[in-house]
């Protein structure tokens, strides 16, 4: 097998990535490979760079990649505008979803789906087709369908906002889902709904990178890999059991073992 073919099988290949926000370098030489069908959980202490990583992958303008490369399905992800990344199938579920006053959820989602479809040379959905799609996904995300008639996230509870992110993911049907602390601030019922949405989405052609502080969500979404991010680098990789170990022992033992200085 030659190198190009091998690479094209990976959904995401990150090589020696460096990301700065303002003057500060946050990601300092990160490597990560994600294959189709895999769920990768990224854990780490506050300020280790978890959110920076997924925001940089989604193309947030303030997150400047200073070094390294990111291949998404063999393409140079970093050369794409954020909206092109989204149309190519990269989705970021925000840690803090924004409220968009006056922008109706329905209208917003329809515009987004049409933008994605147009990019893929597909016909825009008719209102009826879109409504059918939305109704189906609303059931999975267990969202009150009245909410889609309201302004996006405006006045939504924390849990509703997170479920709305899952709804958007299901409707847009990306290949790579980046979930930025989608479990934070959720009660156990909401957490189960979010997990159920992610598990519905999960499949042999999909890849998921799940950033989280707590191993709790991994009780519902079983990861293939757990990575520990510290000081902008992945310092340890393991399976599901690593998350449990972290919960029990904290991060200090890894810090010592991997020689990462304490901040």
């Amino acid at each position: 097998m030659n190198k190009v073919q091998e690479r094209s099988q990976e959904v995401l290949a990150i090589r020696n990535l460096h990301v700065s926000v303002g003057e500060a370098e946050i990601i300092k030489g990160l490597n990560l490979t994600v294959n189709p069908g895999e769920v990768h959980a990224i854990m780490g202490p506050n300020g280790s760079g978890k959110s920076t990583l997924v925001n940089a992958l989604a193309g947030k303008p303030q997150y400047v990649v200073t070094k390294g490369e990111v291949l998404y399905e063999g393409m140079n992800l970093l050369a794409m505008l954020p909206e092109v990344r989204a149309r190519e199938g990269v989705f970021l579920a925000f840690q803090y979803p924004l409220e968009l006053p006056g922008v109706r959820t329905w209208q917003f989602l329809k515009s987004a789906v049409d933008a994605v479809r147009t990019h893929r040379s597909l016909k825009e959905l008719s209102v009826r087709e879109f409504d059918r799609l939305l109704t189906e996904k609303i059931k999975i995300a267990e969202i009150d369908s009245e909410l889609t008639k309201r302004s996006l996230n405006e006045g939504f509870s924390g849990g509703e906002k997170k479920r709305n992110e899952i709804l958007q993911m299901l409707v847009l049907d990306p290949k790579l889902a980046l979930l930025d602390e989608t479990d934070s601030g959720l009660d156990i019922d909401a957490l189960k709904i979010v997990a159920q949405g992610v598990n519905q989405f999960r499949g042999p052609s999909k890849a998921i990178v799940l950033v989280t502080h707590y191993q709790r969500i991994l009780n519902y979404i079983t990861p293939d890999y757990v990575h520990v991010l510290m000081e902008g680098r992945i310092v340890k990789t393991g399976g599901r059991e690593l998350a449990l170990e972290l919960e029990e022992k904290g991060y200090d033992w890894i810090r010592e073992a991997s020689g990462v200085a304490r901040e």
Binding site: F94, L100, A112, A115
Partner: protein, 451 residues
């Protein structure tokens, strides 16, 4: 003093020729009002920001005062028939339309209601002769010209305009649309549109005023509208400033409200090089309530000034003011809102808000809502904001596949929508949606090269 008079000579000359030419048919009281108004105008002149005149602090009407406008009332009406209203103004199948060219009624373009119609809708020149009783009681009684140069000037040229009288208990379903058209000419022209709306007890009506230009030539629109809202009456009033970007538009609406009456005013301002929208509401009886909505959108070097005065003269009255501005280019917006709560006006409930979205770094807004409270036991509040488009919101939308242009349009429209959605008249709302969506600038203009 001599200097001042010289400056306004052209208005005096125009006035004199007007009096000579056509005044004979008009009742004496109309001529008297005009004469008094002209005298007052000669004393007042146009307002300036001098000597602590807060009402005009941020708006310089020097360009209006110094320009050499011709009185356009008698301008040629060639081509009148060819004017296609449906293309240039909002339109409803069942609407009653009164059309004015340069302030003068156009029989050809108007669709007056039949005689079976519940309300009297006609032009003022006609009403002078037939509706003397109602007119004498109300005309120039509400929009007084004692301390307002523009109203004095308008009243000096009080010759035609719109007259609407909804009798007691009558409910008029179809909106009444008053269309004021500036036809434009080689030389800058002035017109003084005038409207009187008198609504009886328990009556109901929807009235739209549109100000439209046929050409890009500069002109001066100096409009005055008086509205009397009878006891328990419900009046919806819309005012569309669709002047061209060379125009000067000074508009004053003076509203008088009776007991338990409801008045809704919605302003849409898009045109004019210099625009000023004065609204004065006198809540003169218990239980009266008014809701004043406004949306203004400026670009280039446009200047838009909203000056809203809500006078809570009696107890148990309610007022809401909600204005929003979208400013691009080097344009400037001024908002001055005063809520006055008179002594004894207990249980007043008043709230005013002015919010602005700045699309460029060179746009500027001076927003100054204020309260003057002379009574106890009242609920009053006000607020003003100005901000740019939120970059994080744009990124959020881009991360869902929308390009910057679409994302910014959705956000700007989302901002404007709160006002547009209040429009109760379906064809008007659709018209305004299109108008504002079509006028939205693209995000690339806002943040330059950052794409």
């Amino acid at each position: 003093m001599t200097q001042v008079l010289t400056k306004y000579d052209k208005y005096v000359t125009a006035f004199q020729s007007l009096e000579r030419s056509q005044a004979a048919r008009e009742p004496q009281w109309v001529r008297d009002i005009r004469q008094r108004a002209l005298s007052r105008f000669s004393e007042l002149g146009f307002p300036t920001a001098r000597r602590g005149n807060e009402n005009w602090k941020y708006t310089n009407v020097g360009p209006v005062a110094n320009a050499n406008f011709e009185y356009a009332f008698g301008a040629s009406r060639d081509g009148e028939k060819a004017i296609e209203l449906r293309g240039i103004a909002p339109w409803g199948q069942d609407w009653v339309n009164l059309v004015f060219l340069n302030g003068r009624y156009s029989e050809v373009l108007s669709t007056k209601p039949s005689s079976a119609y519940a309300a009297r809708v006609t032009n003022l020149a006609d009403a002078f002769l037939r509706d003397g009783e109602v007119l004498e009681k109300h005309l120039a009684r509400h929009a007084t010209f004692d301390d307002d140069g523009f109203t004095a000037l308008n009243t000096s040229f009080l010759r035609d305009g719109a007259f609407i009288h909804i009798p007691e208990g009558e409910s008029v379903q179809a909106p009444i649309h008053l269309i004021f058209i500036a036809t434009g000419s080689d030389r800058p022209s002035a017109s003084h549109p005038r409207t009187l709306i008198v609504t009886g007890k328990h009556s109901k009506a929807t009235i739209i005023e549109s100000y439209i230009a046929l050409s890009p030539a500069p002109y001066f629109n100096n409009a005055v509208t008086e509205i009397v809202v009878g006891d328990q009456a419900q009046i919806e009033h819309y005012r569309l400033l669709l002047d061209n970007t060379e125009a000067f538009h000074i508009g004053t609406s003076q509203v008088y409200q009776g007991q338990d009456s409801k008045f809704t005013s919605t302003i849409f301002a898009k045109g004019a090089a210099l625009g000023r929208n004065n609204i004065h509401v006198l809540l003169d009886a218990p239980g009266s309530s008014c809701v004043l909505n406004g949306l203004y959108m400026t670009s280039g070097t446009q200047h838009m000034d909203n000056y809203i005065n809500i006078d809570h003269a009696k107890p148990h009255a309610f007022s809401r003011l909600n204005y929003k501005g979208i400013l691009d280019g080097k344009s400037r917006a001024v908002f001055g809102g005063i809520v006055v709560v008179r002594p004894g006006a207990i249980k007043t409930d008043a709230r005013q808000s002015d919010k602005n979205l700045l699309l460029s770094r060179d746009a500027e807004v001076n927003s100054k809502p204020s309260l003057l409270i002379f009574a106890d036991d009242v609920k009053c509040g006000h607020g003003a904001t100005a901000g740019h488009i939120d970059g994080d919101s744009i990124f959020y939308m881009r991360s869902r596949g929308l390009d910057i242009d679409t994302a910014s349009r959705l956000l700007i429209y989302g901002f404007a929508r709160e006002i547009i959605d209040t429009v109760q008249v379906e064809p008007l709302r659709v018209y305004l949606e299109k108008l504002f969506l079509g006028a939205l600038p693209s995000f690339k203009l806002l943040f330059g090269e950052r794409a």
